[in-house]
């Protein structure tokens, strides 16, 4: 779905401290199609909470968070779940369901939100799996995979389909070096398609290879979100 306005637009969004534990400071951020914002944050939990805020999962005390022009708080259940289906996300939170095989976990979001033929979804997932270093798609339960394989699988899941927003938490400590190029290529391909990318990084070293292509550089602290000069 082509979208001319900002993909993600936070206007003085002040998270509710009681419900989230996030510092109640207003946050402003605007990501246009093709933007790549690197958000430096040393605290994984804080990064996850901020990612939740962008995905409309945290109540606001004031301000607004809009995704593709739609305010999360003004949407009904069906609409906001459908809209979240357009977000590709890598999270450090436990997100694998041991009820299914890893391959089903990977394609679950696409099968749920789209009417694409299953073979197409599986084919695309296989292609991404090969790019990220799998011999195909892992069929075993996620609980039996190593941390590095789970990181590869998380990348395949996030980039699968045509997400309009990528919210990528830092998994550089788990992602094997041979998958780094595929990760950066997938980001570039998504941006070329018009997706916006929010990439959380714990260390500058994890995104230094991509520095020249990053156009927004921010730092997430307890006191709020601050722009960093020099990108």
């Amino acid at each position: 779905m082509a979208h001319d306005g900002p993909i993600l637009d936070l206007r003085a969004a002040q998270p509710s401290f009681d419900e989230s534990g996030m510092a109640p400071v207003p946050v402003d951020l605007r990501l246009m199609p093709g933007d790549c914002a690197v958000v430096e944050c040393r605290d994984y939990a804080r990064a996850t909470l901020f990612a939740d805020l962008c995905c409309g999962m945290i109540a606001l005390a004031s301000g607004s968070v809009r995704f593709m022009g739609l305010d999360w708080t003004e949407l009904g259940d069906r609409q906001f779940y459908a809209l979240r289906g357009r977000i590709g996300r890598i999270t450090r939170r436990e997100s694998w369901l041991d009820l299914f095989g890893t391959h089903q976990n990977i394609i679950l979001q696409q099968l749920h939100h789209t009417t694409r033929p299953t073979d197409d979804v599986v084919g695309e997932a296989m292609k991404l799996g090969l790019a990220f270093g799998f011999p195909g798609l892992p069929l075993t339960s996620p609980g039996r995979l190593s941390a590095s394989d789970l990181a590869r699988a998380a990348c395949v899941r996030a980039f699968l389909g045509r997400p309009d927003l990528l919210v990528l938490e830092d998994i550089s400590d788990m992602l094997p070096p041979d998958a780094t190029v595929a990760f950066l290529e997938a980001i570039t391909a998504a941006r070329d398609r018009g997706a916006a990318v929010m990439w959380f990084a714990r260390h500058a070293a994890s995104w230094t290879d991509y520095r020249s292509a990053v156009n927004v550089h921010l730092r997430l602290l307890d006191e709020g979100l601050f722009p960093v000069r020099g990108v």
Partner: protein, 296 residues
Amino acid sequence: MTGGAVAPTPSDTPEGSQPGVRPGGLRGRLMPILARIRPGLARVGRLTRHQVRFMLVLIGAAWGVVRESMRPNSWRRTVREEFRQCLRQVVGGGFLSTIVTATLAGLMVVSQAVYWLGFAGMAQMTGSILVSVLVREISPVLVGIILLGRSGMLVLTEIGILTLGGQIRALQAQGMDPFLLLVLPRTCAFMVGGFTLGILFATNALLMGFIITHASGVITTSVWTFFANVLGAMSSWDFLVIPLKFILVGFFVGLGACMTGLLVDADDTIATLMPRGFARGIMTVMVVNILFTLGG
């Protein structure tokens, strides 16, 4: 300091009294009494709310399942697949237990009923007694307990672990409503499974009872006559109530297990979750049966 009237400050009013309340008036006398009993009333209210909370959740969720199940858009392929898997687990997992329990129930209830009714010279009552005791009252309870033990506790554990582990929140982050993806298909699978196992249970129990009594010479009629007598003893209300009981027992056992799993507290563990889920499940089975018995 200038003279003149000074507005009374709150400290000027008698202790415990409120502005606008005359100390000697009726309201003035009632207020201290109310203030004394208020903590007790609050305690009763808290306890009542806590006790009925799950029942209210169950009623609300039941309405949600009914409403969502009517929408074609709810039955996406992920939901359909979850329904298929759960139905296979409920029916496949409970099949053997149902057959064994029904056999035992048939041996005990049918043979005893036939023997003693024959002894009392009331053999013509056999059909109606079997229908009202075994098929209408015992079968739904035992099927409910089988459903709860074989599949309900499994569902409760699965969903409880997902909730405690944060995977439910991760599902929501991917835009998948846990109610749609887990609760709706599983509840519907339990409903269909409850009906299937219930009919299997009732048929098998009657058949086993017939075989034993026929083998021991208490009954000399054919199996067709025996079943014709049982069916003849059923009223049109029975034809409605018996399947409905199986369906509703399955529905509420499944829904109760799913909702108990979804509504865990942060300090819950599997050790606290399982007994609570079992107690709620048994209570649900009993309440559904008792409501029908009272209604009938």
